[in-house]
Amino acid sequence: MTEKNIVTAIHDTLHEEMASDERVVVLGEDVGARGGVFRITQGFLDEFGESRVIDTPLAEGGIVGVAVGMALHGLIPIAEIEFADFIHPAFDQIVSEVARMRYRTNGDYGLPLVIRTPWGGGVHGALYHSQSIEAFFAHVPGLKVVAPATPYDASGMLRSAIRDPDPVLFLEHKRTYRLIIGDVPDEPFTVPIGPADVKREGEDLTVVAYGLMLHVCLEAAERLQAERGASAEVVDLRTISPLDKDTILASTRKTGKALVVYEDNRTYGAGAEIVATIAEEAMFDLDAPIVRIGGPDVPAMGFATNLEHAFLPDTDRVFEAMSRLVSF
């Protein structure tokens, strides 16, 4: 085991996969000489060369489109979209091409490719460096959408994504990149795409979250324990799509109460699907109405520190919601 932050965990995993499989190439804006704006591919250009570490023209649709062609002809491309906020020009390629290739060819062609992109707020990213984009893509069958929140999960799930025969949108929360530190095994390991993970066991309520919000919820759960003597079970979704209903429902049935927390705009966000799943399948196991916390329905968080804070759900808000649920 080595203690790493998420940037290092992703860097090291990518490095290992590239070193062990020549089919793996990375492409995107600034991934070469610059080593990525978040330094994920630092040193790759020197080690693996220009043919495997491709600084692309500045065109996100082209990056994904080129990666599709590569994947159809024997490579395993890892396309980086510099910020999730810039992924929208590639929406057509991802939705119409990437997600549908296997289905539309009746299984004749598969697309083993990974699209990595930093997402989320809390870094003074304002309107166009803070967005949550998972809901757009989680709606699309044929695409796996993951959002690991720890160095261990980021490493294990990235390895799974690279080895997956199907396309994976790999979301890396920017605020967690250097904030979250944890142990990562020194030998290659995988964390499966699909299963959620109970990051904290508890009895009194279930909290479902992912990305930065996982850590906000874990912090709030500690405070709940300390101040109210109540225990929250915190489920880290990890994979947004396909959704691990079993883990969410099992936990909810155990505690009888559910709180869903996400930083995306509340309406039609991924949390809505989680809430609907609980409402449809665990209604009679509930002791309280399901509570949902999301970002407000405004276009984005502001650049000003106080505007950003006003947007993002924080420990206080989550703690208060937990407290109300516990005493319901």
Binding site: P57, A67, V68, G69, D108, P165
Partner: protein, 338 residues
């Protein structure tokens, strides 16, 4: 790198084509034409809900496709490319399986509309309906081929309307930057459904843009199958030699509406269509072949009758093939494990 009008000697001898090659090319063009007739007949009979015609494009399609090699090269056709996929090895039977949306349709098992070509066996890469999306795929596949040490060339076909799409620019730009082994073929029939070229672009030639992508642009008479072959042959040789991509623009005309659901009387005069038919690539090639003693009138009649009978037979076979099982609707969203 300026636009160049293809002007090399396009006699078949100069191009290295034997009389047998010419006959095979001619037969493919005739087959494509007859497939159109059959498809529209089936459409009127209510058996084929949607038809995308090829008539008028047989010359540029057979000519360009003939310069690629089955089992070696990569094919990225678009929906009008009936003759391209015939050259790539798809049979009329397989094309009709797609027209009837049958279970064994090699392109999609009856999932996509007809003419959305795909076959990993033949090296034909699947495409969708949004226009121009396959252009960056061609660049990526060509990149992968070179990376893997293959000498494959990717051929990528599209209409002039596709050249307005961002994906088209992005694909050509990437191919140019990396000098990839890919040939982009624009079948310019001057209409994107109803929108004329005048409203589509400010330039006279699509190839005027080639210089911006660091590749040669070659204009060719799309109704001259041998000229198209010559232009493509040089482009493929160039690509295989590591000299990079080429943009070919074949000026041609579509004789029928965009699809069976279109009415081209709303945007093209009948006089214009009739005038275009005076430059029918099939008739022009026939004339060439007669002049060079490759065919004569009786042979044309016999060959046409034979192809018609063969196509009719394959239509019947395809019509009686099994429909997809509705229980397969949920399959192949992701890879299936044992």
């Amino acid at each position: 790198m300026a636009t160049r009008v293809s002007s090399t000697d396009t006699s078949h001898e100069a191009l290295g084509l034997s009389p047998d090659d010419l006959l095979a090319m001619y037969r493919t063009m005739v087959t494509a034409r007859i497939l159109d007739e059959a498809a529209f007949r089936l459409n009127r009979q209510g058996k084929a809900p949607f038809v995308v015609p090829v008539s008028g494009h047989e010359g540029c399609q057979v000519g360009t496709a003939w310069a690629l090699e089955r089992g070696r090269d990569i094919w990225l056709p678009y929906y009008r490319d009936v003759a391209v996929v015939l050259v790539a090895g798809m049979t009329p039977y397989e094309i009709f399986l797609g027209l009837f949306a049958k279970a064994d349709d090699p392109c999609s098992g009856g999932r996509q509309m007809p003419n959305h070509w795909s076959s990993s066996r033949l090296g034909i890469i699947s495409h969708s309906s949004p226009i121009g999306t396959q252009i960056p795929h061609a660049a990526g596949a060509a990149y992968a081929a070179r990376y893997r040490g293959e000498d494959a060339v990717a051929g990528c076909w599209f209409g002039e309307g596709a050249t307005s799409e961002g994906a088209w620019h992005e694909g050509l730009n990437f191919a140019g930057v990396h000098r990839l082994p890919v040939v982009f073929v624009c079948e310019n029939n001057h209409y994107a459904i109803s929108v004329s070229q005048r409203k589509q672009m400010a330039s006279e030639n699509v190839t005027d843009r080639a210089a911006g992508y660091g590749m040669p642009g070659v204009v060719v008479d799309g109704n001259d199958v041998l000229a198209c072959y010559g232009a493509m042959k040089r482009a493929v040789e160039r690509a295989r030699a590591g000299e990079g991509p080429t943009l070919i623009e074949a000026k041609t005309y579509r004789f029928f509406p965009h699809t069976s659901d279109d009415d081209d009387r709303t945007y093209r005069s009948r006089e214009e269509v009739e005038e275009a038919k005076h430059h029918d690539p099939l008739v022009e090639f026939e004339r060439y072949l007669v002049q060079h003693g490759v065919i004569d009138e009786p042979l044309v009649e016999a060959l046409t009758a034979e192809v018609k009978a063969d196509v009719d037979h394959q239509v019947d076979e395809a019509w009686s093939a099994a429909d997809p099982d509705p229980s397969t609707l949920l399959r192949h969203v992701f890879a299936e494990t044992e």
